[in-house]
């Protein structure tokens, strides 16, 4: 319990030093990771059910050569790949937005620095340091969030492409 409180205190101090933008970055990162984990969860546990259903309905067909059979195969693939690709663009956009939010934090922090400069006349380096940390911490946080997002989104994208291809391979046509 004590350990937990200490951690909460550390996080709170970090958030205070970074300003409000840090909360936006945290929220964005949270949503991004939630979506990513949901995707990974789906690929691990939900996808096989959908693929099996598609394969089953395909194998149940009496013939798999005609024009209409081809169209139906394409429809089956499309239905599953829609599910596979869901929320992928959103994750990628969020990854791209993280550094942008970091930049926003930088600029608001700089405004604070200049504001303090305007009030104190620039003589007080100590009070300006607060604004500077508000400028730099979100930049760093945005970068870290984006980097982590780049890894996970690339991983997910890889799985999605592989699964789509595997599905197409499973639904074989009888030439």
């Amino acid at each position: 319990m004590y350990q937990l409180n200490e951690w909460i205190d550390i996080i709170r101090r970090f958030m205070d030093a970074g300003g409000d933008v840090l909360w936006a970055i945290a929220a964005l990162t949270f949503v991004m990771w939630t979506l990513s984990i949901e995707r990974v969860w789906y690929y691990k546990f939900g996808l096989s059910k959908d693929v099996d259903a598609a394969i089953k309905s395909w194998e149940a067909r009496s013939e798999r050569k005609s024009w209409s059979a081809h169209q139906i195969r394409q429809k089956l693939i499309s239905e599953v790949s829609l599910k596979i690709d869901a929320s992928l663009p959103m994750i990628q956009t969020m990854v791209a937005l993280c550094p942008l939010l970091g930049l926003l934090g930088t600029v608001t922090g700089m405004i604070e620095v200049f504001n303090i400069m305007a009030v104190t006349g620039g003589g007080d380096a100590k009070s300006m340091a607060g604004g500077v940390s508000k400028a730099t911490i979100p930049t760093m946080a945005g970068m870290v969030a984006a980097l982590s997002g780049v890894f996970i989104s690339t991983y997910i994208k890889g799985i999605a492409g592989r699964e789509s291809e595997l599905l197409e391979d499973h639904l074989t046509t009888d030439h």
Binding site: W67, S68, A69, Q71, I72, R73, Q74, K75, L76, I77, S78, E79, L82, P89, M90, T93, M94, A96, L97, L100, L101, L103, L104, V107, T108, M110, I111, F114, N115, I116, M117, A118, V119, T120, G121, G122
Partner: protein
């Protein structure tokens, strides 16, 4: 009218003078020379009589004068004697005073130094009391100290033990009170100039807030309390309100540590611009970015509503066997329903034609949204650069010596960057979200419509 009146007055005056002179002259005037001679003779006799009488009077007076002179001489002698006597007394007294003063000095001895310290301490205390917030709660302290100082600098009277003890008490009270948070009633000048009796809370010597959670300013010159015309923004007001309504225990509160020396932090907080003032600092570019952002929001919401409804209709269409004309998928499927006997190649051509017809309706304004997302940060950059130009112009005029003149322009320039980012970030998110919806429907149209038709024909055939 006026000159006439003046003339009349002149005539009236001259008339009066003439009437007075005339009878006198008539009485003295002799009718003949003989008569005149007689008159002269009679007059001479009268004059001689008068002269004799006067002479008689003077002789009588002379002896009297001599008596008076003798008396005056006597008085002078008396007074001279008295003067000499008083002078003697004066000298005696002077000697006595010198003697007494010497005795006083001797008896004061080390006390002189003590009273010197007392005077300087009282002087310090007076300036402390003048600026201290505690004076609001305990008025008249300053008067007492001023009286004490006057008394001690007068050198005629020595401060009494009661007074010295009271000074000690006041010093101690200042110290004790500076560590307390107390509530009391006093007169406060409100922001619109009215005088009101309010309950105020004093935090040591640092800050004063009233029951409405407003920060108060103490004006040492008049000893008056004023509600600050502009209050600090952010959590400070809520804290002040909490503090004012609290009766015991701990309350979070924003204390200005520079309070006793003038409250410069609070002033800085108040001087820092509010959110809307910041927004106005962005200038024309800032307004343009805001307008573009509002436009983007409206477009995004409109497309989101339209596409969500379309999505729902398409989902319904996917489940139903009949082609409905109220959604894009239904209209594409209708192509087959209207021409059931088409061969597959013609059907595919017709279908892609129908899909092409639907595409612009689904993708409407999405590109505009994308352009806004890209343009907003660029506009922000534009604002930054124009702001920097203004800053450098300020430097050419005022020189680089005044960081305040420069900092104002720079913070104004950065505001547009912030605005650009604030518009761009949600627009990018919304564009991804909305275009995701559109793409999903298009995906269904593109890749599944033919399959659905094939399923239908098979279902009918089988």
């Amino acid at each position: 009218m006026k000159p006439n009146f003046f003339k009349a007055a002149v005539f009236a005056v001259s008339g009066t003078i003439a009437s007075m002179a005339m009878p006198a002259m008539a009485a003295d005037e002799a009718s003949s020379l003989d008569e005149l001679l007689k008159k002269v003779e009679a007059g001479y006799a009268a004059d001689a009589r008068e002269a004799k009488a006067r002479e008689q009077r003077f002789i009588a007076a002379r002896s009297e004068q001599q008596a008076m002179l003798a008396k005056a001489k006597q008085t002078l002698k008396n007074e001279e004697n008295r003067s000499a006597q008083l002078e003697g007394t004066f000298e005696e007294n002077e000697a006595a005073i010198t003697e007494k003063q010497r005795a006083l000095k001797e008896r004061l001895g080390t006390l002189t130094e003590l009273f010197g310290h007392l005077t300087s301490t009282a002087g310090d205390l007076r300036s402390n009391f003048q600026n201290s917030l505690i004076s609001v709660q305990f008025p008249n302290r300053e008067e007492f100290v001023t009286q004490l100082i006057d008394k001690m600098s007068g050198a005629e009277e020595l401060p009494s033990i009661e007074e010295i003890e009271r000074m000690w008490f006041e010093m101690q009270r200042e110290m004790t009170e500076s560590g307390k948070v107390v509530k009391f009633d006093t007169t406060v000048t409100t922001a619109d100039g009215q005088k009101e009796d309010q309950t105020v809370v004093r935090v040591g010597t640092f800050n004063l807030v009233n029951a409405d959670g407003e920060y108060l300013q103490y004006v040492p010159e008049t000893g008056a309390l004023q509600v600050l015309a502009r209050q600090p923004s952010g959590p400070y007001m809520g804290w002040a309100e909490d503090l004012a309504s609290a009766s015991s225990g701990m309350t979070a509160f924003g204390v200005d540590p520079t309070g006793p020396t003038g409250g410069s932090y609070l002033a800085a907080l108040i001087d820092s611009p509010t959110l809307s003032e910041r927004w106005h600092q962005g200038g024309v570019v800032g307004y343009v970015i805001t307008a573009v952002g509002v436009l983007a929001m409206l477009i995004a919401i409109w497309r989101l509503v339209v596409l969500s409804i379309e999505d729902m209709k398409v989902a319904k269409q996917l489940k139903s066997g009949q082609a409905m004309t109220n959604n894009s998928l239904g209209r594409v499927l209708k192509v087959h329903e209207e021409n059931p006997s088409m061969d597959s190649e013609t059907l595919e051509l017709k279908l892609s034609e129908a899909i092409l017809r639907e595409t612009p309706r689904l993708e409407r304004s999405l590109n505009l949204l994308k352009i806004i997302a890209a343009v907003a940060p660029l506009l922000g950059l534009l604002g930054t650069v124009t702001g920097m130009i203004i800053t450098f112009q300020a430097i050419t005029i005022f020189g680089a010596g005044d960081p305040k003149a420069m900092a104002g322009g720079i913070s104004g320039a950065l505001v547009t960057t912030v605005l650009g980012l604030i518009v761009a970030i949600p627009t990018v998110l919304l564009h991804t979200f909305v275009s995701g919806r559109a793409k999903k429907i298009l995906h269904i149209l593109d890749e599944q419509s033919t399959g659905i038709i094939a399923e239908h024909t098979e279902g009918k055939a089988g």
